[in-house]
Assembly symmetry: C2
Homo-oligomer: 354 residues x 2
């Protein structure tokens, strides 16, 4: 493997000194980029794009050719695990992901099997290897997975939901069944992320997109313990370097103290929290990633720069911040506005690191 030319991202995650605040953009390879849409059209559909390592490599690198981002992230989907478990994933136009065989009864839950990462998910690790080779040391590559609770949301609801009544019904009526699903899924996530690390991922992120829909007590019983189990099951080093771990519970700002002791090097933040307050609350336990409202990219370039400056000022001096949005970039975003954000963060952050 060629040596890493820009390790600012990895250093910031470990709260080591950096020259500027690194950034990447959640869903940076996505529909706001015309070149992405062209590749996707060539693939046929979204799932075909995920499953084709050549095309997944191509779209992973596209945003890096436009913007001087400090990390690449594997192009894939969080639902690869439920798909590999045989739940029948498909993407419908306008309606998002659907699973044809949602887990609604005890028999199907007890029949849940671990996917074979080396065969069922081979297309993912192949993509990781290929992206890593293509990056050729430009920036680090992030691998990722959905969190057990978030994957279980899709596995039980059968798709997106605005009230999560099936999974929450199970949580309150048959917590034993939900714990069984979460236990199996946790093992799958650990194997999956370790396979990505082995294939070349230099940092890993667990997306707990729906953990924030839980009550305080339910989060601490049904999401956080499994996040913690994952952290403790992950390979710590690769190529003689620590592989930093990031956990992101969207809507989890109230729970930062307990998240900070779950075994992760960094925590993702959405925009509801003031990042200065968040830093005070987690102290030197973890780095922080995120905080910019993706919708602020609909403002003028001036307003975007002002908002970036505000977040940098609120975090303050020193390392331990990876700039990012608090959610994936909207498909309606003007790529020039992303460029304005990237430039602003790189430029404005330097004084905080001298």
């Amino acid at each position: 493997m060629s040596s890493l030319q820009n390790d600012t991202f990895l250093r910031a995650l470990m709260r080591e000194p950096v020259d500027y605040t690194p950034l990447w953009i959640m869903r940076q390879a996505g529909r706001y980029l015309p070149e992405y849409n062209a590749t996707r059209a060539q693939a046929g559909d979204f799932l075909a794009l995920c499953k084709n390592p050549n095309l997944a490599t191509e779209v992973t690198l596209q945003p890096l050719d436009r913007f001087p981002l400090d990390a690449a992230i594997l192009f894939s989907d969080i639902l690869t695990i439920p798909d590999a478990m045989g739940l029948g994933l498909r993407f419908t136009a306008g309606e998002g992901p659907k699973l044809d065989h949602p887990l609604r009864d005890e028999a199907s839950i007890k029949a849940l099997r671990l996917p074979d990462v080396n065969s069922d998910l081979r297309y993912v690790t192949d993509a990781v290897s290929q992206i890593r080779r293509s990056l050729n040391g430009r920036v680090p590559l992030i691998g990722f997975s959905g969190s057990p609770y978030t994957l279980a949301c899709y596995m039980i609801e059968g798709g997106g939901s605005d009230d999560f009544r099936h999974i929450k019904g199970m949580l309150y009526a048959r917590p034993d069944l939900l714990h069984h699903i979460l236990k199996v899924t946790t093992q799958a996530v650990i194997s999956y992320l370790n396979a990505q690390i082995q294939a070349g991922a230099q940092a890993v992120m667990v997306f707990d997109t729906w953990g924030g829909s839980l009550s305080h007590s339910a989060y601490h019983e049904f999401s956080l313990p499994y996040l913690s189990e994952i952290a403790h099951g992950l390979t710590r080093e690769s190529d003689g370097r620590i592989v930093p771990r990031i956990a992101f519970t969207k809507g989890g700002g109230l729970w930062l103290e307990s998240m900070a002791t779950a075994g992760y090097d960094a925590l993702g933040l959405d925009w509801a929290i003031d990042i200065g307050d968040a830093r005070k609350r987690v102290g030197d336990k973890v780095a922080l990633q995120g905080n910019f409202d993706p919708m602020a990219l609909f403002g003028s370039p001036d307003a975007i720069q002002q908002e970036a400056a505000r977040i940098l000022e609120r975090f303050g001096r020193g390392s331990g911040h990876v700039f990012n949005l608090g959610h994936g970039v909207s498909q309606h975003t003007n790529p020039d506005h992303v460029a304005a954000l990237v430039d602003a963060v790189h430029c404005f952050s330097k004084p905080y690191h001298v």
Copy 2:
């Protein structure tokens, strides 16, 4: 007006001693009740039901005939104000509310006019008067309004949204236009709530359903100051008794300290926050309302009672808690489960008030 037979709800909002923790249920008159669906079918559609004081009175009282709730809430919709402003409200099956004339350009924003509460919204105050007479002092009647920011979401998006890109685009690109909408809407909300108080509402609640989608700094610029202006514009007493004010920003758990000084007697809580932590954070500044995950009503009656007991235990001894859900009751809820919750709260809370 006949004297109030059960003022537990009003006393708890003012943190005065009570014998038990009072409760009501957000959206307690709603689609989970067969008798509600029968009345709605009779009205034709949802908006016709809101606009008919006889039928609005009938559905307001229905849940009180089933459950020993400690308050009634006016049956209405938060979009009555945008409707009275001429934005063309209609409800579409399955898609929720739509406004035919969303505010998207400077000319229409500058042309926004205050509704005449005494004519355009007379059907609401007529309903309040009639409900109050029909209640005959059983329990207090709550009046309500949407918050300026939440109303502006609908007025600008033209309906529900999962990303709020139009209002947030305006917030970041033309904050002056958004402030103009919010200022006009704030005046409308003050007149509207004062008219409800004059017609007989004994407490008022402002629903800031979408304030939680804002960033920390945007919330403190675009939602909270207007909530505060409303509180300071409201009639304080009616019939020689204080009219308590409740503000509820869903997803606002991180901002309780600043909300607690905005002029309200009580703050609504969703279920993401531990109510014991919330009580510590607000101290004796305000009472708290809510905290039960509406989806926990899909558990068994035993699980429902356990969850109610947990929340009561976390709040602890003394007055200042109005039990409620953290969001409206789901249409798929079994009414018997609501009965189990009401009984559990009334019974289990007594030891905390001796």
